[in-house]
Amino acid sequence: MRKRWIVGVLVAAAVAAAAVAGVATRASAAPKLTNITLQLKWVPQAQFAGYYAASLKGFYKDEGLNVTLKNGGPDIIPEQVVASNQAQFGVDWLPSLLAARDKGTDLVNVAQVFARSGMTQLTWKSSGITTVAKMRGKKVANWLGGNQYELFAALTKFGMDPEKNKGVTIVQQPFDMNLFLQHKVDSASAMTYNELAQVLESKNPKTGKLFTLADLNVIKMQDVGTGMLEDGLFSTASWLKDPANQAIAVKFIAASLKGWIYCRDHVAECVSMTLQEGPTLPKGHQTWQMNEINKLIWPNAAGIGVMNKADYARTAKIAQQYGAIKKAPTAGAYRTDLATKAVALLKKQGVDVNGKSYKPITVKLTAGGK
């Protein structure tokens, strides 16, 4: 027993020494880099490929930044992580950010990366539920926890009261599509870039073949008029007060946007960078996702990352109308100056920040997204 104890101590000491050595070498190799942490919204997937690319292609390093990308998950709230200073930046949907501001945090959107909403409601073609209005009296699933506002707004628009379960039964949707595939709910939420593909990667038990878009009604919130702005970068007003931090923010935003621009033009490479991060779903799924994410970003007339005032106003209005926030959001909820500077910086480097000629690719899905 005693011998084992000694071995244990030796191993612990060796590990500690190695760790110290590792930290020391890393510090000496890059003495001038500024440490920045970015909290992502969800588990590794192509939804964050731009940040992976910025990190792996050295765009952050070029700007003098050492960026740590923190993965998200079901119980990680990026707003809380940033508000409690565990990260300088976070990625989340704009309504969630507004909700967090409503609760007394000083979070600020600094760059709106996604210009369009990827949120849809799926129904089976055989159900005949082709519109939101026809969801009356049906079981409608959503992930809740801040992801429900676009759907709730759409249901309310057609006279239902989802908050009180009147006219429609709202069901908490797990992070897979099984409830929908087993016909336990009539409609389920699906992001164009993720859950929709999960359904299309599943086999129809009746035919033994994959489901196709012909089996589904895809009701886009963007088309219903209740689409809200989704993934954007945010920080805190208190951190941004310091002009030095503002300068860091411009560099960070520029490098991040450059990553997204890179992924627009190099889909396959960005998919393999995503795969290095260890996503749950395989290559085929991530390729579909990368392509769909690009569609949400490009083209962007004002330049990627610069908040569109009208879209912001619509998001804020819907958020207030449907209880995400109690009072109208204050002016400090977003700032465009940092993103505008970042875009100018990129233009000077000769980078295309508008993607006017962007053309999506066609991705063929396979069973299980392989």
């Binding site: 609760k103 007394g104 945090t105 079981k139 009180k164 039964t169 908490q172 797990p174 409830l179």
Partner: protein, 273 residues
């Protein structure tokens, strides 16, 4: 007839007892109020942010403003808890009775019951949601029922087995049959044990229902609401939901206490709070 004579005396005694109990409760109430004051004061003094810990006064105001959503959700959860409580406790009592009557059965069932009890219930929740329709209350009732089953089983069995042999000998000397002994001696002896376990189960049932809801369910349920509110940093409403859950759990507990007092007036232990 004797009941008619006793009742007025009981009422007078009840009034005096209530007064005495009120005095006994004063220290607890003072500590409770002090705790709330310290909570509220600490937030004010240390500028604790609202999204980390809301003020008790804000939680109560949220309970008021969001009551229209919270109470119906609480009622849904309460019904699930009640169903699980009734099912789980009934099963516990039936199995305990069977084991109490047929010793051999105990050797077979008890190890299994203990093993089942050792499985953390949170691990069961997603499985139950898959077995039963996650949208039907049955899946939540099953979780609450499993939680309630074991304490009721163990305590009821203990109660049934704690009969003094002399009492049984006495009954036998009166030529009483097994059924009479069971009704006149075993059940009355076991009842205080049963009620103690029901009190434990009443609180567990509410926990079981909420744990089940954490893994999916319809929106108008406390577990789903609390989880969803916490994810949008609406901790004020989340806390209000927790408060509703506690109040409903206490109500079920109180109902068991009342039932106990009405059923076993002879046992002095039942008068202790």
């Amino acid at each position: 007839m004797s009941g008619v004579v006793v009742t007025p005396g009981l009422r007078a005694g009840f009034g005096r007892r209530a007064g005495r109990q009120a005095i006994e409760w004063i220290p607890a109430a003072v500590v409770f109020c002090l705790g709330i004051a310290v909570w509220e004061g600490a937030i004010w003094a240390f500028h604790i942010k609202q999204f980390l810990l809301p003020k008790p006064s804000d939680i109560v105001s949220s309970l008021w403003s969001d009551g229209g959503t919270l109470w119906p959700a609480g009622w849904t959860t309460f019904k699930e808890a009640l169903g699980g409580f009734a099912g789980g406790s009934a099963a516990g009592i039936v199995v305990a009775t069977a084991i109490g009557r047929f010793r051999a059965l105990g050797g077979v069932l008890m190890p299994l019951a203990i093993a089942a009890n050792a499985v953390p219930i949170i691990a069961f929740a997603p499985i139950f949601n898959a077995w039963f329709d996650p949208l039907a209350p049955g899946s939540k009732m099953a979780i609450a029922g499993v939680l309630c089953f074991f304490p009721v089983l163990v305590n009821t069995l203990r109660g049934l087995q704690s009969v003094s042999p002399r009492q049984i000998e006495l009954m036998r000397s009166y030529a009483a049959g097994e059924l009479t002994i069971w009704r006149r001696v075993r059940v009355p002896t076991a009842l205080p044990y049963v009620f103690t376990s029901l009190k434990v189960a009443s609180v567990l049932a509410m926990i079981g229902a909420i744990v089940g809801e954490y893994f999916g369910g319809s929106f108008n349920a406390l577990g789903v609401l609390i989880r969803s509110d916490a994810q949008i940093l609406d901790f004020q409403t989340a806390w209000a939901g927790i408060l509703v859950a506690s109040l409903l759990g206490l109500a079920l507990y109180a109902a068991v206490v009342v039932a106990e007092r009405l059923t076993i007036r002879w046992a002095p232990a039942s008068r202790d709070p």
